[in-house]
């Protein structure tokens, strides 16, 4: 016989509006082994928690059921209440009557009936719960940051400054990310390089940061506090331990590759650094464009290198890194707008995407900061088309959030650097942010023309060869417009990195509909994920501007720190175990476990589970024909009992 306490939360009116909470508590009191049942306005509040603490003492409760919001929300809160009252935290059951009852119905009869059924299931289950003891493990104090953009850089610096060792993994040959491509940043128009490069340099100099450029994570093992990560160091063909960054090699190189950094607007050498302020400032060889790799002859760089750092034999290597927590800051890609043929990107030379334009403005860019068309002429009129592929149900439903602002920035820079007329084609102007509306007003006053209507088509001008015509409906006047321009700038949707899903799989993350990494909770846990010890920062979570990204980086660093600051930590105790008396030795568990936790003891003829490797999915328990495997907290009898309770009323 157990002594169950049931605590029904109103959640203000969130629950009470469509579930008769007092009736639910009265009903609970009639259920088996329920000793006390109460309802209260906010169970998660301090008085609510105290009510539970007092009742545990007064009524000698040994099982607690909290009938409230989703367990994903407050399970931890109430577990702490149990622990504080001397009860094992696993004797708590949460009944989700908010997200899965009160919020999905308007009918109080239906809501109350369903809440009763769910509560009854919880009572049946609760009676069979057993105290579980968590495992205590040593925590590795190091952190890995994946992605060397502004988010990764900031997070790495913060953590390193606390004295923790940080591995910063970047797939490119330099850190810096997209921000290093920009010229100015909105709304303050301060120079991107001026604020970023000192940080990049700080990373390079920091004794606690191991920078791993040209690297990709290839395997993730282990669990929170003890990740064991394999990183693939891609062959650079330049031994960076020998290279003194004299860059003599780059001068001699006859190879021509396309500069990814300059968004393919210009060519670069086969041995190169992406841009002058790159960190590290040591070159790599692009195998695709290298004459030696292509033709078997050349090696001019090798001859030029006094340090003998060139190594054509270099292979990819694999480095094992052990860390306690991981921050993912893998950033974004711009949507490929070529498939949107109506905009003529890739077809008409006068159509650019936003990142290309960023490079045009940049003094270190292909044009040395001059705004010229591909033929070298200066545009006389420029159209900036917002929301290309975003806020578009046929492509990406989400708003990319920064396009309005950077488009305004573009307008300003166009005005500054050219005498062109600048037109915005927009759906709405979204300028929510500190100083943003003010920036918008300033641009309006700069004689930039705003046409409220989404650019529908970009076509070649029939009258003036070489010019383009932007077609749109001006939704203010209701008129259809055909505007001839020299240059069209597309502001495409910000989308997850092409390999975001692979990364999600590596780190066991969920992704949202667009493919951005899912946070544990959209409001209350925006930087943590469903995988313990893995945190996210920056645009890999969703489109955002630099201030927000940096803020997230600080936050993610603090989150990671909460783990690695400890020497030891407790793990979930909900692992599986084998009851040897029932094990028939079929080894199904050994065959199916994704983590290799079960093994077969041939001598005893039974399987055994290494709980340190078990993640508690319960797969082994369901393939065990003789029910010998006990999936703790989700045991067969607990699930069966819950089902029975759910189906009774």
């Amino acid at each position: 016989m157990s002594r169950i306490g049931v605590f029904v939360c109103h959640c203000g009116l969130n629950i009470a509006k469509t579930v008769r909470v007092s009736e639910l508590a009265e009903f609970a009191a009639t259920l088996p082994d329920v000793v006390v049942a109460k309802d209260y306005k906010f169970m998660c509040s301090t008085p609510g928690q105290e009510m539970i603490v007092n009742d545990i003492k007064q009524h000698k409760l040994d099982r607690i059921i909290v009938t409230a919001c989703s367990p994903l929300m407050h399970e931890q809160t109430f577990r702490k209440v149990l622990t504080a009252s001397g009860l094992n935290q696993y004797l708590l059951t949460i009944v989700n009557i908010r997200e899965q009852v009160s919020w999905v119905t308007h009918d109080i009869e239906e809501g109350t009936a369903k809440a009763k059924a769910l509560l009854n299931g919880a009572v049946y289950r609760s009676r069979l719960l057993v105290p579980l003891t968590s495992r205590v493990i040593d925590v590795n104090p190091n952190v890995m940051v994946v992605g060397g953009g502004i988010a990764g850089i900031q997070a790495a610096l913060e953590l390193a400054n606390t004295g923790k060792k940080v591995y910063l993994v970047e797939k490119n040959s330099t850190i810096g990310g997209h921000m290093a491509q920009f010229d100015k940043t909105f709304p303050t128009l301060d120079c991107s390089a001026c604020i970023l490069t000192p940080k990049m340099d700080a990373v390079l100099q920091h004794k606690n940061i191991t920078m791993m450029t040209s690297c990709e994570v290839s395997e993730v093992k282990g669990f929170v506090g003890n990740f064991d990560i394999t990183v693939r160091q891609k062959a650079r063909y330049v031994d960076h331990s020998k290279c003194n960054a004299c860059l003599a090699c780059t001068e001699k190189c006859p190879g021509k590759g396309i500069s990814e950094w300059d968004e393919s607007l210009v060519k670069r050498k086969a041995i190169y650094i992406p841009f002058p302020q790159a960190v590290p400032q040591k070159p790599i060889i692009d195998k695709e464009s290298c004459t030696f790799f292509k033709k078997g002859k050349c090696r001019l760089c090798e001859k030029a290198c006094e340090q003998k750092a060139i190594d054509f034999e270099q292979q990819d290597t694999f480095v094992q890194v052990k860390v306690g927590a991981v921050i993912l800051a893998t950033g974004f890609d711009l949507m490929d707008t070529k498939p949107l043929v109506q905009y003529g990107y890739g077809k008409y030379p006068g159509v650019y995407n936003a990142l290309e334009v960023e490079r045009l403005f940049n003094s270190a860019g292909p044009t040395g900061g001059k705004v010229t068309l591909r033929d070298g002429s200066e545009p006389k009129s420029i159209a900036i088309l917002h929301c290309i592929g975003s806020r578009d149900k046929n492509n990406h439903e989400h708003c990319s959030r920064v396009c309005c602002m950077y488009s305004l920035k573009f307008a300003h820079l166009f005005k500054e650097k050219t005498s062109a007329d600048v037109y915005h084609f927009y759906i709405d102007m979204r300028a929510a942010g500190k100083g943003y509306e003010e920036f918008y007003n300033r641009i309006i006053e700069e004689d930039v023309k705003f046409i409220r209507g989404k650019g529908a088509r970009v076509a070649q001008s029939a009258d003036e060869p070489g010019r383009l015509v932007v077609e749109a409906e001006d939704t203010i006047t209701g008129k259809f417009i055909k505007l001839p321009v020299d240059m069209v700038v597309l502001s495409p949707a910000i989308v997850p990195r092409a390999d975001a899903r692979d990364i999600a799989r590596l780190f066991n993350l969920s992704t949202d509909k667009q493919g951005f990494f899912m946070e544990r909770h959209p409001k209350l846990a925006p930087l943590s994920t469903m995988s313990e010890g893995i945190f996210i920062a920056g645009v890999c979570q969703s489109p955002k501007d630099i201030p927000d990204t940096v803020a997230q980086a600080y936050g993610a660093a603090a989150e990671a720190l909460t783990i690695v600051v400890r020497d030891k930590m407790e793990l979930e105790a909900t692992t599986a175990m084998v009851n040897p008396a029932s094990c028939c030795g079929c080894q199904n568990c050994v065959r199916v476990c994704p983590y290799g936790a079960p093994s077969y003891n041939a001598e005893k003829k039974v399987s055994e589970i290494n709980e340190a490797l078990c993640k508690g999915c319960g797969l082994c328990a369901s393939v065990c024909p003789s029910s010998a495997i006990i999936a703790r907290h989700f045991t067969n009898d607990q699930v069966l009992a819950e089902m029975e309770g759910l189906m009774e009323f």
Partner: protein, 138 residues
């Protein structure tokens, strides 16, 4: 009174249960006939749970898991897919209406899919009427 079926849902913690929460957070409305058991992974679902659910009087059983390939435990739902497919065939050959058992992959971000599936499945179970074949008569 019209027939209000009892539907048992078994949802994985990481995708479908979270997706169900999302449906709530976004205030999507769907019928209240579904009662969800939370398990960590759809692969935890022992086929006998489903037989048992029907014996307990469930008019329908709905299983929700992560999309294949997106399993929080890498491969759990790939095993679950095979095992539950067999469960379905067994139920069918034993004479239970095949429409009473359904497996859906619903991700954590698919709150609308969750609501749609529940709405549609509930309507389907209503049209099938009460399940009496497996139900234990007391």
């Amino acid at each position: 009174m019209s027939f209000e079926p009892k539907i048992l849902g078994i949802a994985c913690n990481w995708c479908t249960y979270t997706g169900a929460d999302l449906a709530g957070t976004t205030r999507l409305q769907y019928p209240q006939n579904l009662r969800v058991v939370r398990v960590m992974c759809s692969s935890r679902i022992n086929p006998s749970f489903i037989f048992r659910a029907f014996q307990l009087g469930a008019d329908g059983v709905l299983i929700g898991g992560c999309h294949p390939g997106d399993c929080h435990y890498n491969t759990g739902n790939l095993y679950a897919r095979r095992r539950l497919a067999v469960t379905k065939k067994i139920l069918e050959f034993s004479g239970l209406e095949p429409g009473r058992f359904r497996v859906e992959w619903i991700s954590a971000s698919e709150g609308n899919k969750f609501a749609e599936v529940v709405t549609e499945f509930t309507a389907q179970i209503k049209s099938l009427g009460p399940q009496t074949k497996f139900k234990i008569s007391q």
